[in-house]
Symmetry: C2
Subunit: 542 residues, 2 copies
């Protein structure tokens, strides 16, 4: 009986911790990892009765419940207790803090068309949003409500009392300073709201005014500077709740929170800074001078000219920023010059989720590309082209025929089973059916929808079908294909052909098959794998 | 020169604090109170050069800027520094903590029709949501997506990766335990999301299963008990960030936060409790046993049978609860019995705002009712009815005629200027026009839209107009009304009548006027003021 597992490298895993994290199908839902038992279902005195380490991992038997669990070495290394404080992508630890000088020539920007269509670009821009705290997209259509489309491309619009969308332009009697032509010092939005909208988008439709330039300031950088230079002031601002309030005819919003919010481990996590909606501070009279001194010191850091990145939003530009960290500002402008922005709010959690999902998808695509570059460059089973060239040609035919994205992807990946199955393509040529259509489809099904995998699964059967229903089809087969036809079972019987034709993806598989036969030209010039990256990533990301 | 204002009762107001809170039109936008200057615009050494107290308040002159500010006694008493920690409606201080026994016979419930139509009832239910942490509405239509209408009636739907709305019913391969028929222990939803959706709604469409009862547990109560009984365990849970994660094909959400979240003053403010999505705890091995002990202790308090309020949702019931505080649970049920709920998320800030706005409106309506009961019961300027009876009769005529709500309200309040103006109605009868139509309209304009105030403003002119364009209208006037007609300027000239008829609310004012003349029957039986409360409150709340 042991109270903990100690691995050969000395890493320690307490018994109860291990038992609580068992990943077997009785303890967790496979895939999502949702736990199926509760802490109160476990004994207080869980111990390890036996632990056996092998090349893949460790098998543990627990007492008193006798439960058996397996933990892979990779999993144990990933989650090993005590390696680091829990990662929190919202604290200063996960951010690249900056002042204007740090961003010279490296202001994070992108274009809307690439953000919308190219997952690699979208991932890069979202990473900038989460790391630098903002990104500027050029080329967003200068159209009413287009900003909502930008927000929805990576998350959900947070509706507020200002509506789904708010207009930033001069109003006659502004209740909010934003709707005037006055300069506005750096601030965060909606500090009176909890939950705070954590992302703001501002999309420029018109900017013909003299002035009206935009500014961004990294509140985390200013807070970290304050902590270094005036620790007492920093400490005071993290411990003093300030009440923010906004009231008009239809709303009366109020929240109390410190100007600098820390996480449970003392890391900077959230800035609220907006003098306009700050209510009278509620401290004892003798503590007020110190608060104002700290508040002023923080303000001076935030308003320091070197802190602010200044730029001009032109029509079609959309700046997306982290409203828990980045303060925004604008210079005053002539009230008669037209200036019109539309803004909306969204949230960081959805943006981070989108980035994580994109990264998973991009990893899969990178893995596929690697297969094309490695195994794909080997000989293609007696054909005059490599396997990679053959699949690229098949995809090019599909694309030229105007096939839907899923079928283009199926064409591109249809022989991937030769690379991934336990039985290699080479063995197929010596008379063993490697069932590469099935192994490929099964392997891809972890990431791709049936519209991609099922035509692949059926593409060998489609050859047998076509040879059955089109008597001259046999003559279009290459010698190698003719050879494998027999290994794979020969032409279908009439009954088999009827059955096949009734299958959901039979038509797509038959189309794929025809492109397959026509894709063995050693001189054809076709796009490279890179051309299909966006298409594949979009399909993965469902 | 003084560093602070010290009032006669000894209360102290530091000079800089006062200067920062000046409410003059140069320093703040009137109405919304948005501040127009910044802390860095103020000198470091603000002092009070002069302070003069009178019956209404204090006038202060500051140095070095020479600015003059006025503070009313009421304002100084409301915001006096040091009275109390800032009010925060989300911490335990603002809540009524409970166990099941505390709620016996006082479970907060309401009905959807009254919630939707009666502002007093809506305020009562929202107050329960914010104080007890939940409310159950009966009588919500058993219709697809009706839950979204409930959420939108007091706030904004928070869209998530589950969509605007989620279906709680048995799925074949549930990635989330909610979509199975298994029992689910008390938990909060979406702990892996930040910002967390702070309100959850669950609307029952079908519940024919055996089992499947609902349970609610007050997490704040359990946390407060843990603090009292095991302070070290409580402390540990407030300081240890736990990572929660949810991942499926389209989402990968992760957040780290303590199970018990405190505000900056150490008050309980947010519970995250969901064993299903908790990831392996990242503490050093030697600290893990203590964490599990504390976690188990908290779980045992939350799962204690006495903690849980159990009830059965019937079709048409909708439970609305605070997802930062209230854990929800359900018992298992037979998988073949139909059980179907629809749920969605919303946020507490909008609910609190709606309640604040409703309270303002209800205060105004209460103030109007008071006027009817006090001044309204006095004689009505030589007519055989009281002023209140006259206005109630006018409103009853408007309602009988099918007038829109705003015009019914205008009819009800048309003579309110007699109560509120500087010149009383009595003076009108001695030959001085008290311009009661204008004083009434101006007074009401602080709360009511023009559709209510403008017919009131024009109702005296409408009499002069009708007498001009309808020769026999004069004969319909009561002797008192005939007398005041002359004080008010007599019938209009033809040119004046043309001008009047072209005014935006002339038609409504003329209609009101006819009801006005017909509302002097000492024997008429009409609804009381209470009948108009919902209508008035709806109009106020725009």
């Amino acid at each position: 009986m042991q109270t903990e597992l100690i691995r050969q490298d000395g890493t320690r895993f307490p018994a109860l911790w291990l038992r609580d994290n068992c990943q077997c199908g009785t303890c967790q839902i496979p895939g999502s990892g949702q736990k199926l038992f509760d802490i109160t279902d476990l004994a207080r005195d869980v111990l390890i009765a036996q632990a056996d380490e092998d090349a893949d991992g460790v098998q543990v038997v627990f007492t008193p419940d006798g439960h058996r669990s397996r933990f892979t070495h990779t999993w144990l290394e990933t989650y090993r207790p005590g390696t680091a404080p829990p990662y929190d992508d919202r604290t200063e630890d996960a951010k690249a803090l900056w002042t204007a000088a740090d961003l010279e020539d490296v202001v994070p920007t992108g274009t809307w068309p690439s953000f919308a269509d190219d997952p690699t670009e979208r991932a890069r821009c979202l990473e900038a949003l989460l790391t630098q705290g903002f990104v500027i997209l050029h080329g967003v259509p200068v159209a009413d409500r287009a900003v909502l489309g930008v927000a929805r491309s990576f998350g959900y619009v947070r509706e507020t009392n200002y509506g789904e969308l708010f207009e930033v332009r001069v109003e006659q009697k502004p209740a909010n300073l934003a709707f005037s032509s006055r300069p506005i010092l750096p601030h965060t939005d909606n500090p009176y709201r909890d939950p705070l909208p954590t992302i703001q988008l501002l999309h420029c439709l018109t900017n013909a005014a003299a002035g009206g330039d935009s500014g961004l300031v990294d509140g985390f950088h200013a807070a970290a500077t304050l902590r270094r230079e005036q620790p007492d002031a920093f400490d005071l601002l993290t411990r003093t709740p300030v009440t923010f309030r906004y009231a008009d005819a239809g709303a009366d919003l109020s929240t109390s929170a410190p100007l600098i919010g820390l996480d449970a481990l003392g890391r900077i996590r959230q800035i609220r800074f907006n003098n306009r909606s700050m209510r009278p501070i509620a401290l004892e009279p003798d503590r007020i001078a110190a608060f104002y001194q700290a508040y002023r010191a923080f303000a001076e850091l935030l308003y320091h000219p070197g802190a602010q990145l200044s730029f001009r939003l032109e029509p079609g530009d959309c700046v997306i920023f982290d409203n828990t960290r980045i303060l925004h500002a604008r210079s005053g402008f002539t009230a008669d010059g037209a200036r019109h922005l539309q803004g909306c709010y969204a949230d960081l959690d959805a943006a981070a989720s989108e980035l994580a999902v994109l990264r998973r998808a991009l990893d899969v695509v990178a893995q596929l590309e690697q297969l094309f570059n490695d195994q794909g460059n080997s000989e293609y089973l007696g054909e005059p082209v490599t396997q990679a060239a053959h699949m690229l040609q098949t995809a090019a035919h599909a694309e030229a025929a105007g096939a839907p994205d899923a079928l283009v992807a199926a064409a591109l990946l249809h022989d991937i089973g030769h690379f991934t199955g336990h039985i290699s393509g080479g063995r197929l040529m010596t008379g063993t059916d490697n069932r590469h259509s099935h192994t490929g489809a099964d392997w891809l099904a972890a990431w791709f929808p049936p519209d991609v995998t099922e035509p692949i699964r059926l593409h060998v059967a489609a050859k047998r079908y076509l040879c059955a229903v089109e008597p001259d089809y046999l003559q279009r087969l290459s010698p190698a294909s003719l050879y494998t036809l027999n290994v794979q079972g020969g032409p279908m019987s009439a009954a088999e052909a009827d059955q096949f034709a009734a299958l959901p993806h039979a038509r797509q598989a038959t189309a794929l098959r025809r492109w397959d036969e026509a894709a063995k030209d050693p001189k054809a010039a076709v796009p490279s794998f890179a051309h299909y990256r966006p298409l594949l990533t979009r399909l993965l990301h469902t």
